[in-house]
Symmetry: C2
Subunit: 365 residues, 2 copies
Amino acid sequence: MDPRIHDHAATLVDWSARIGAGDDVVLVVSETAHDLGVAVAEQLGERNANVVTLYASAELERAYLRAHDGEFDEDPQFELALYEHADSVLFLGGGPNSSETADVPGEKRQGQSTAKQGVREARMDTDWVSTVHPTRAMAQEAGMSYEAYQSFVYDAILRDWEALAEEMAQLKEVLDAGSKVRIRNEGTDLTMFIDGRTAVNSAASVAYDSHNLPSGEVFTAPYDTAGYVTFDVPQTVHGTRVRDVKLTFKDGVVVDFEAAQGQTVIEEILETDGGSRQLGELGIGMNRGIDRVTNNLLFDEKMGGTVHLALGRAYDANLPEGETGNESAVHVDLITDMRGESTLEVDDEVVQRNGTFRWEDGFEA
Amino acid sequence: MDPRIHDHAATLVDWSARIGAGDDVVLVVSETAHDLGVAVAEQLGERNANVVTLYASAELERAYLRAHDGEFDEDPQFELALYEHADSVLFLGGGPNSSETADVPGEKRQGQSTAKQGVREARMDTDWVSTVHPTRAMAQEAGMSYEAYQSFVYDAILRDWEALAEEMAQLKEVLDAGSKVRIRNEGTDLTMFIDGRTAVNSAASVAYDSHNLPSGEVFTAPYDTAGYVTFDVPQTVHGTRVRDVKLTFKDGVVVDFEAAQGQTVIEEILETDGGSRQLGELGIGMNRGIDRVTNNLLFDEKMGGTVHLALGRAYDANLPEGETGNESAVHVDLITDMRGESTLEVDDEVVQRNGTFRWEDGFEA
């Protein structure tokens, strides 16, 4: 077996999920994630954890949903009980075709999702971690050879997470102490406020309340946004390609927008509800293992030297206890690449210039 | 998709498991049974059943068990709860290598099995059905091409089960009314008693308390066996090849034995405990879709024109309420092919001659 698969499994089980003896672990193996599944099973055995292994296949899901009449039972007890009694859920993503559920009617997926809200909540109440086993389908999505894509994925996942968590703690400290953030980039001059908000150090571990491997970003919930921003990283949003989305904010709300591609989907998002015209998240990518766009948000938004902003819902973790932030049915991340001529300032101090943080080599003071 | 896979799934869900709307179904997909999994998922969707899909992989199991220290937690609550709340469990067997767990220490498998007795009982309390998706590994085990093996498997599975159940009911009636069974075959002249015992019509459906697809046998629990029997169907018993096992019985107990191959494993079995020298089962194969030995007990013992006898444990279903039959830690089926010169008599009436039942065409009265 590729030793990187073994290292991936060990990172997942130790750093990310913190599995210990006697833990009840639901291991979810996607159709093409078998090899990672074997490596994770070995790690779980070594730790004397208990395991129930699920199979995640978009082909099975598609066949089931298309045949179903759409009247879904609410939170089937056997599924609910599994997650309610589980300590951890490890999801190993994969699959041979990312478009497999393209012909499943949206209302069926929505209906199932609504009926299973309790199951989802029980799953989210565990120490869950989601990761991916590199597949040929993902390589294709990224426009890369499989071998090159594997290297890319493992560069992103096999970090010195302890060191990265410490580096991210520096940025969290700056944001937690700060009041005003200003982002300047080509086509961007945006100001927002973060007073009273708490930044999350998303270090790919449940110990940091971070549930994706890879991760590597610091994010907070901004308000009172003003100015304009251009998202120059091409993305797929709700199944549609978008490029060079430009948003103009006044008093925290989008007042104007345009896009070189995908104008319609952006318009739909903005018109979803009251909260979808405001920002719910300011995220700062800090994973230097990710050095290129691969059309996979899990990776793209963590890329070192990028900043992403989300239209819509804010995360509770960023808000004072009991306070609600921006509320919306959507949360859509859009990314700007800061590695050209740019600055990220907090309270008029430059924290990052041209994609380089002030504590990194090569920073120009 | 091969239409036989679709038919297999429909037979499993309708005839065997009797799945209805709202049933909570645990679907277990083995590593190479994906295509059957897709077909079954479709059937479950059509019936508006709820499904949790598990992944059964000998490679994952091996990695887990080898790494584990062998001190297993007793009946992990999350796994127990899943089965306790399930209505049905559908197991789709497969796997790319039937020897995958050959290097797992037996005491670990045994330790896990002992620790999970409650889980196993909860699973057995559901309407469970076990079937197999034909694999290249099984074809190899059978000494057949994959295409020929697929045809073989579907011939065994895609029967007119309703008609076969009716035919088997005739034999059950004969056995239930009968007292003495005599089997004569080359190297065989064996007498046993079945007074007070109830035969099971194993028609591959939970409605018949029959949990394997394919099935197609009628079995009961004999006692007071006398005479000698030769099992001329080559088999693999506890991982060892055996051939031409000959047992001699007196007063229900094996008093002499020999084997052309596998003498040692037969000796080990006979010396297991008090019950392992007595018969626990007389089974009569009636599945005419199975016409050759493929070194897979699930198929071999159901072959039309064969009879199998099991050393060891008797099944409760054959015994009067509250009565215990032969007890033993083992239950080892051995098969004799009746399609040569032979007779099967109940109370001195010939029920089958040369492998043909008296209600079948070609029976010589």
